[in-house]
Amino acid sequence: MTLSEVDLGPLWLTLRLAGVTVIVLLIIGTPLAWWLAHTRSRARTVVEAIVAMPLVLPPTVLGFYLLVLLGPHGWIGSASQAVTGSALSFTFTGLVIASALYSLPFVVQPLHGAFESIGRKPLEAAWSLRASKLDTFLSIASPMASRGYLTAIVLGFAHTLGEFGVVLMVGGNIPGRTKVLSIAIYDHVEALEYTQAHVLSAGLLVFSFLVLLMVYTVNRRLPIHVS
């Protein structure tokens, strides 16, 4: 078997999944982390515990519940079926939802830490300089949290790349739709196709290394100059 015969489809699907998941997580994780860093509500501890759950739960448990929820009889799946005509299990959207939940702590926790270490003091200073709350977040808090964002993006991305259990439960193994890299490698190994497994694994290895190298190079140059 030659290199050209290796199906690179799972690689692109995985990158697309990880990219979309990170974007979704930044959109959800930013307000959540901000709330965790600044609220005095007692609900904070409970929310913190919930956010950390995917760290301790076996992926198959999470995947099982998601499969039930997102399937045609689950209330999210059935709602989706009513609106779009199909349930979410075994779809790319379903995979994004599952990955986002699974990687949530890897994005929320670094952001939470970054916002907490900024504290209220620079925010109060910005308010006293006529900046509204949103303006303060955009011009002060988020650039000051840039290292936290970098860590969140890297961890969220990397963690999504490597997931297996949740994806297998929710997405199944549909080539071109839900067959991601880790599952493809597993399949190849099962079928004793070591060359293909080598190509995909080495590809992921090199890619991960390059991404991390780039991130740490950028990180050294932070905090970036903005105005």
């Binding site: 620079p122 109060e124 308010w127 006293s128 300089l129 006529r130 000051m144 840039s146 903005v226 105005s227």
Partner: protein, 365 residues
């Protein structure tokens, strides 16, 4: 003249702030008190960073908080400049971007202070391109003051802005703050627990103790009350007098200061004729003579005084404070025995011997 009127009541588990104050919206008002008396909380209430559930705050006719009608402007909507205890510069911005951060956010029509002006008065010329984190403490605090000024505030709040600085920087920034008052005409509320800052800077004084106002009024008035002993630390009791340098006597190395009640001689001062100088005459440095001195005295400053008020006499306390009028109020601490010997009573004419005149800007420790 417009006034700043504030009524706040804030209850914390450990203490209770209850302040009712009305001060002229002009010059520097110092809020003074020991640590934990609530002065910083008071300032945060003025800024809107703490919200008193029954609070009221108005600057002139502009109401910023009135809980009876549910008015509460957040800090970002109050024309207030806030200089915090630590500079709180934005670390990801250059000095210039820090300075212009607030300036950019106010409407053009409200910009009464320019970058050039601030850079000139605070001496920031060589710092503009630097990163905020690459400055010394004193430089950072100057940038913080400039940044607040550039929002053209109607009220400048300063929370112990000198506390993190060494003596040299303190002196420097203190001079800047005095110039601010004169050059920009922005009323300043200045929180301090250092008495030398009070006597040098204040025009109006608010004395706080355990969350309540114990004295409020023009500085000279508060310092010349016979009851001031209750609120002003020992060793600092005595009248504060604003003077002007009248002449220098080079032969004897003396400088004459004019004030509303006459003249004072002090050791030579390196100031130009006509410059204003604030001095304090400690009550313990004033002694009284009932009859004009027939004998000669080595004390230079002997002034005719009228006894105005005799302080409360406390059993077991050997001393008593006497308030005198020498054209302005003067306070003297004498023994109760002397009080009896001299048979002092209000309205009586005496001579006050002033043994020492302290220059307030020298008391910076």
């Amino acid at each position: 003249m417009s006034e700043l009127t504030a009524r706040f009541e804030v209850v914390f588990p450990s203490f209770h702030l209850q302040v009712k104050a009305s001060v002229p919206a002009e010059g520097i008002t110092v809020v003074f008190g020991p640590s934990g008396c609530g002065k910083s909380t008071f300032l945060r209430c003025l800024a809107g960073l703490e919200r008193s559930p029954t609070g009221f705050l108005a600057l002139g006719e502009h109401v910023w908080q009135d809980e009876t009608t549910h008015i509460f402007l957040p800090l970002s909507q109050r024309p207030v400049g806030y200089v915090f205890q630590e500079p709180r510069l934005f670390p990801h911005l250059s000095v210039q971007s820090n300075l212009l951060y607030g300036w950019k956010r106010i409407p053009e029509s409200e910009r009464r202070v320019s970058l050039d002006q601030v850079v000139a008065i605070l001496g920031l010329d060589s710092l503009l391109e630097r990163r905020a984190t690459h400055l010394s403490g004193g430089e950072q605090q100057r940038v913080a003051i400039g940044r607040a000024l550039l929002t053209s505030p109607r009220l400048l709040l300063m929370d112990e802005p000198l506390s993190s600085l060494d003596v040299q920087r303190k002196r420097e920034i203190m001079t800047f703050i005095q110039r601010l008052d004169k050059e920009f005409r922005i009323p300043i509320i200045y929180v301090s627990h250092a008495l030398h800052e009070v006597v040098q800077l204040a025009r109006t004084l608010i004395l706080l103790k355990e969350g309540s106002v114990v004295a409020i009024g023009p500085l000279a008035e508060v310092f010349s009350q016979v009851g001031s002993r209750r609120v002003i630390p020992d060793g600092h009791i005595g009248a504060i007098i604003d003077t002007r340098v009248a002449e220098h006597d080079l032969e004897y190395g003396l400088t004459t200061l004019n004030f509303s009640g006459g003249q004072l001689s002090v050791p030579h001062q390196n100031y130009c004729i006509g410059e204003s100088l604030r001095v304090q005459i400690l009550a313990r440095d004033v002694s009284l003579i009932a009859n004009p001195p027939a004998f000669q005295t080595s004390v230079l400053n002997v002034l005719v005084a009228t006894v105005m008020e005799i302080g409360p006499i406390q059993a077991g306390q050997p001393f008593v404070d006497i308030k005198l009028d020498i054209g302005c109020p003067l306070l003297a601490t004498i023994t109760r025995k002397s009080l009896a010997t001299l048979k002092l009573h209000p309205g009586q004419k005496v001579h006050a011997q002033i043994k020492a005149v302290a220059l307030t800007h020298d008391s910076l420790e």
